[in-house]
């Protein structure tokens, strides 16, 4: 009922009674083409320069970026980072190398797998991509990487492979469409630095409701 009335009102406003052939073609062409609009020159760079831009932009957004030559150095780097914050527990996703990594973490660390709970101090996930343009991490939901890990704990530790850094969002969307035969994951998170708010007198405070700190372990 309301749907027909709303669509009818829109069509009256546009001066047509139904959907004309031309209008239908214009819409399906645009939805099919998935054409890029103007892409800023900033992140259309050679690979190395792109990776450097990612590090700069993520750091500017107040993320910690820890560069590691190879993945073998990861367990120690995670252990050190957590020890520095005096954190002795970790809740981890289970995809990619994470299960292996967790096995190599010190015994003193209490490790749990799966979803995050209120009160968790630190989580560990992988990132699907890094986007150099704005220093943004892209993550997506799947059975072995629950989304609560990205938001509930006080500290979010993210593993990103250097070769998974792309320049701009347009490159990221092409890769997202390549997941699960084009079916979108339930959620795609773009995360640029830790949580913050300036709602009190426009003064920026870090750590509003999401993680207070975001640590990116950049491998390779």
């Amino acid at each position: 009922m309301s749907k027909a009335e709303i669509l009818g009102q829109i069509r009256r406003g546009l001066g047509r009674t139904g959907a004309t052939e031309t209008a239908r073609n214009a819409v399906s062409a645009r939805l099919e083409a998935k054409q890029a609009n103007l892409i800023p020159a900033r992140a259309q760079l050679p690979e190395k320069a792109c990776q450097q831009l990612f590090i700069e932009m993520a750091s500017e957004a107040a993320a910690d970026v820890i560069e590691l030559k190879n993945i073998k150095l990861l367990p120690k780097a995670i252990a050190t980072w957590l020890a520095e914050q005096d954190i002795h527990e970790l809740v981890s996703a289970e995809d990619g190398p994470l299960s292996d990594i967790c096995k190599q973490l010190p015994d003193t660390l209490h490790i749990r797998k799966g979803v995050a709970q209120a009160g968790d101090l630190a989580s560990l996930t992988t990132a699907f991509l890094g986007i150099a343009e704005t220093g943004t991490l892209m993550l997506y939901s799947r059975p072995d990487s629950p989304t609560t890990l990205n938001f509930l704990p006080d500290n979010h530790l993210v593993v990103l492979n250097r070769q998974d850094i792309v320049g701009v969002y347009e490159e990221a969307w092409a890769k997202v469409r390549g997941l699960n035969q084009g079916k979108m994951p339930r959620t795609v998170n773009m995360i640029t630095g830790p949580s913050r708010s300036a709602d009190i007198e426009q003064k920026l405070q870090m750590g509003a409701h999401g993680p207070r700190r975001l640590a990116i372990f950049l491998i390779g």
Binding site: I6, L7, R11, L38, D199, I200, A208, H209
Partner: protein
């Protein structure tokens, strides 16, 4: 929400004398415009992106029916639900029904101006469902029983002392004047509410037709906790938010944060596509999109169509001298500033909203910063004309315009009169550059000086210039 737009003049008078408010408004003027300018400078393509965004929005509006249908089909395909609501009442009932079906006692809410527009909180509360605002600014306002005074910085009218006082009386903790401590208190208070909520309600910055996704843009992460923890996620949004593809959404995201807070990108940009998928360990089991019309579809046929391009960045109010002087509450309803002066008369009626499009000097700053190039002064003028045609303009204004019109049509007389008033104003200024008191114009001189005419009228200067040009030019070259 009580509409006080007809009392704009009185609201403004009170606001101008409110010391606390004036202090808080200082933060708008110094903060946002500067940050936006810096962000713009860092992106040389910014103005080209604005042109593309304007054109794309025009394309979307011309095909709005089809993009909405495409969006709906995708949401259904993903296992979600779409509800079409013509009015606030329909939207309220639809949302309540979903809450009741889930036996919901509490509902967490991410920041959403459309839920303000449909007065959702009061309605839910009256029907036994407790809404909990989770955005820090909105949370502060809910405790104080107030409404937002700005569309992206809802508590911008408050000072630290106000927040400190409010938290002290509600949280029963020692009073603090440290914003970090206050934010920590809110974080702790809300943590359990996030987990306990039965339903999470968020808005949407955009809806993507290609994928059937909604996206929210937040810095705090409250919107994400609101939509991933409860069993049901309801997206309450309006029909003009739909965009064709992820690439098209990206065009708007490149403009939104920069125009709003001056950030390169907002911290959390989250796409939601339907309910939890097979094997997922978290996320909502139900995903609903409530599409609110509320007068928007009617705007397509009128000159107001261009207003449907608005992406709610708030740049217009951040740069508006009137908003900066009187604050958002003076506008008397949900949407303040220049965008509100265009939208409010459409939604509450020109009879109640007529003063808002009149509260502008047409300085044009709003239009010059709008990321989708909405001609806001032109649209305010549309309402002024509409008001005049409906004979809603006060008698004194109509008489004034009539008298001005009489002289304007008689140039010789007009010139004599402007010479005379020029001389009078100069006499009143007692040779100062500014006039601090002017009879019949106290409304002006109470809050600022009137600049005194500096010399001859424009017509006199023009005549002199023409004469000068006709003189032999030799002296200029000697």
């Amino acid at each position: 929400m009580n509409i006080t737009s007809p009392d704009f003049k009185e609201n403004a008078r009170i606001a101008l004398k409110d010391v606390g408010l004036q202090k808080a408004l200082g933060n708008v003027k110094t903060g946002f415009p500067h940050k936006r300018a810096t962000a713009m400078e860092r992106l040389p393509e910014f103005d080209q992106l604005r042109d593309e965004a304007r054109d794309l929005k025009n394309h979307i509006i011309e095909h709005l029916d089809l993009y909405l249908e495409a969006f709906e089909a995708k949401v259904l395909e993903n296992g979600g639900h779409v509800h079409w609501c013509r009015t606030s009442e329909e939207a309220q009932k639809t949302i309540l029904k979903i809450c009741q079906e889930k036996n919901a006692k509490t509902v967490t809410k991410g920041k959403s101006m459309v839920t303000e527009e449909i007065n959702l909180n009061e309605y839910l509360e009256a029907n036994g469902v407790t809404p909990v605002e989770t955005d820090l600014g909105e949370y502060i306002l809910q405790l104080r029983g107030e409404h937002p005074s700005h569309i992206i910085a809802p508590a911008i009218h408050l000072n630290l002392e106000d927040v400190s006082e409010t938290f002290h009386s509600h949280h029963h903790k020692p009073k603090s004047m440290d914003p970090a401590v206050l934010m920590q208190e809110a974080r702790e208070e809300l943590r359990n509410k996030f987990v306990a909520a039965d339903v999470g309600i968020t808005g949407a910055n955009f809806l993507v037709a290609e994928t059937g996704s909604s996206i929210i843009v937040t810095n705090e992460g409250n919107g994400d906790l609101t939509q991933i923890l409860p069993k049901t996620h309801i997206v309450v949004t309006s029909i003009e938010k739909v965009v064709p593809t992820l690439e098209d959404m990206t065009l708007f995201l490149r403009l939104l944060a920069r125009s709003a807070t001056g950030q390169e990108f907002t911290v959390y940009n989250t796409l939601s596509t339907g309910p939890r998928q097979e094997g997922d360990q978290d996320g909502p089991e139900d995903y609903h999109v409530v599409l609110v019309d509320n007068g928007r579809s009617e705007m397509i046929a009128s000159e107001l169509r261009e207003m449907l391009r608005c992406i709610r960045c708030a740049a217009c109010m951040n740069h508006c001298p009137v908003y900066g002087a009187v604050g958002g509450h003076s506008y008397g309803w949900v949407y303040p500033g220049p965008m509100g002066s265009v939208l409010t008369p459409q939604m509450i009626g020109i009879e109640k909203g007529a003063l808002l499009p009149n509260a502008s000097t047409f300085c044009g700053k709003c239009e010059s910063v709008c990321p989708v190039r909405i001609p806001l002064p032109k649209l305010m003028r549309y309402w002024r004309r509409n008001e005049f045609e409906k004979h809603l303009t006060p008698k004194t204004s109509r008489w004034g315009l009539g008298i001005w019109g009489f002289f304007a049509k008689r140039p010789a007389l007009y010139r004599q009169l402007s010479k005379l008033s020029n001389a009078t104003l100069r006499a009143l200024s007692r040779k100062q550059a500014r006039i601090s008191k002017l009879p019949l114009a106290r409304g002006w001189t109470e809050h600022r000086d009137m600049p005194a005419p500096s010399g001859k009228t424009f017509m006199q200067l023009w005549a002199d210039k023409q004469q000068g040009q006709n003189k032999p030019q030799s002296e200029h070259y000697s």
